[in-house]
Symmetry: C2
Subunit: 350 residues, 2 copies
DNA sequence: TTGTACGCGTTATCAA
DNA sequence: TTGATAACGCGTACAA
């Protein structure tokens, strides 16, 4: 077992100084061709690679991005990570992933451990608990320490940082407009409670579309589900509520759901009640994941382009890290990128 | 913007030496209570935290695990990451994630960048291309440098390292036994090409079960699909092949598929051909993911306990890292943990 | 009780 | 053309 070799060891072996080795390896023309040759050959033989940690310490930058997401077993978030990873690899950055698991405490802990020198900046999506508590001190502290943050999807408007969001309002409008265009007039909404920003925005888009088409906004058609962690019980409860929605609104002719699970559940309930999709009820979901593509019937969805979003977020962060011209003052300019959504039409709509 | 504070700055401010500060903060009884008080108060005020990078360099360990997986948008792999993360957080380790995207080159690059000091050890699942090429030099080199590897799921037997695998053979037997128990006699298998180890093992389990029940192994009932990256075309091709399987084997009364997608596809094709599930055809898949739980009908599956697998892998690695008694010689003892599978019965079987 | 010196691995600067 | 030294931030053995 040949341990990792260092400059010092090479220097000792070849009986030259450490700095000579260092320069020779970087092909400095301070060094004679002879020595360069010798050193490089030896280094190659022992496959020398500079130690990242030492470089990080010296350069005061780690070339590592910290990513904190609420949940990884989730189509959208894992697509975002894929996008971040892709750009990071291209631009020679590493990615450390922390999961908040929707918990405020874990989010804080994860951020604190990473902020102590392990990374150069954060890309994160805020946990539900944090959104609920509205306690944002950890974000502010991180930013105050000079560590940039890029928030995506679940963002906090008041925090001064770069943001990348999905065009939730427009996306929802697209969905509802499609349903209206198909002749639906009693369109139900299945959403989350309002403290989840994306649920709120998608609800807004839903209402905007109705209003713009002079259709009434009927509160009875709006179901806001408590978004607990997924469990068997939860699923039954969800189905129960959706079934109730259908039964109390016999004239319901379409459903717009703010995520895949709600949409698939709506289809399941509709089928159970003997309704045919898309003839009796048309359904559109948000997030174009595996569930939508393989549901029966296949689900029309609003695609968020999570992969692209991740790429944009990573570029935003790395750009800021590398333009380290230290504007320093209060007049930092932050961007908010909006990623367009796309309507993917499948069998659940006409 | 108050930049991260260091021992040096505290020392300067309080007009004491760096080591005094260091000791005071670690509550050394070499230091007077007065000084300790003063230093600690100051440190608290400026929320001093030791720099991880400096510690890593000093201790020659990073307390960071490198995880390389082929794909993140994948139920099983993301569950494994969740498990790894959980243990890592508990045991005060960070997790750097690298995606090989099923590519040999990316796997190599990712490992090389991480191995140069960024991490203490690897947890990884081998990419398909690597399995196909059978080029394992990067694993051997890493291990030779004294960096431990834990392989999971897609492993390589010849490599000397700890391993955690799913009990693929037994799991498949469970599935097929269940189908046989339900009276099925013409059980089709939809699997991947053989170079994917798990596909091969699951095929083996399928055959074992048949043989043990004195049922014939009929090659016509075995479909081995080329496992390309998921694309629209690929899906159509898959459906075509599965449909052909059904049509050429009218007596087919059950399908065992080595993943969710194949299983769901089988159900879709069966439905299209007017076959009822589970009355005409029963279906079982491998991997108990979202797709299975929300398919129609819901899918009976073999659950792999990916979360638990991840936890075990992380514990195995960290145990090895921390028992650094340097056995050094050839007589290292490596373990292979086998994670039991579980049959989750749902609507697609009787 | 406090401070000095050293080393972790690297690079940059300056001296030889 | 080469080498010594300092610095990145920390902890610790040893000296004062």
């Amino acid at each position: 077992m040949k341990r990792k070799i260092t400059l010092k060891q090479i220097a000792k072996e070849l009986d030259v100084s450490i700095s000579t080795v260092s320069k020779a390896l970087r092909n400095s023309n301070e060094i004679s061709d002879d020595t360069k040759e010798k050193v490089q050959a030896f280094a190659r033989l022992y496959s020398y690679r500079p130690n990242n940690i030492a470089l990080s310490l010296k350069n005061r930058k780690t070339k590592t991005i910290g990513v904190i997401i609420p949940e990884i077993v989730h189509y959208f978030f894992s697509m975002v990570i894929r996008g971040i990873e892709r750009v990071a690899l291209d631009r020679h950055y590493n990615v450390i992933v922390g999961l908040s698991n929707e918990s405020f405490d874990k989010e804080v802990i994860n951020m604190e451990t990473l902020a102590n020198g392990s990374i150069d900046g954060f890309i994160l999506s805020v946990s539900k608990e944090t959104l609920f508590k509205q306690d944002y001190h950890h974000f502010n502290e991180t930013i105050n320490q000079g560590m940039p943050i890029v928030m995506f999807d679940r963002i906090i408007n008041e925090i001064q940082c770069d943001k990348v969001i999905v065009d939730d309002i427009e996306g929802s409008k697209k969905a509802v407009n499609k349903l209206i265009g198909n002749g639906c007039t009693h369109i139900a909404l299945i959403s989350t409670k309002d403290y989840v920003s994306v649920g709120r925005l998608r609800t807004e888009g839903y209402m905007n579309a109705l209003i713009e088409h002079q259709l009434p906004v009927n509160p009875d058609l709006i179901l806001k589900v408590d978004d607990k962690l997924e469990s068997e019980d939860y699923l039954e409860e969800l189905e129960g509520k959706v079934e109730q929605l259908f039964k109390e609104n016999k004239n319901l002719d379409a459903v717009f759901a703010v995520n895949e699970l709600y949409a698939v559940t709506a289809m399941k309930v509709a089928r159970k009640l003997g309704l045919s999709i898309p003839d009796d009820v048309q359904v559109i979901g948000f997030t174009d994941g595996v569930l939508s593509r393989h549901a029966t019937p296949t689900l029309t969805t609003i695609k968020q382009h999570g992969h692209y979003l991740g790429e944009q977020a990573a570029n935003l962060l790395i750009d800021r890290l590398e333009n380290d011209i230290e504007i320093d003052e209060e007049d930092e300019v932050y961007q908010t990128l909006v990623i367009e959504t796309e309507l993917i039409e499948r069998e659940s709509t006409k």
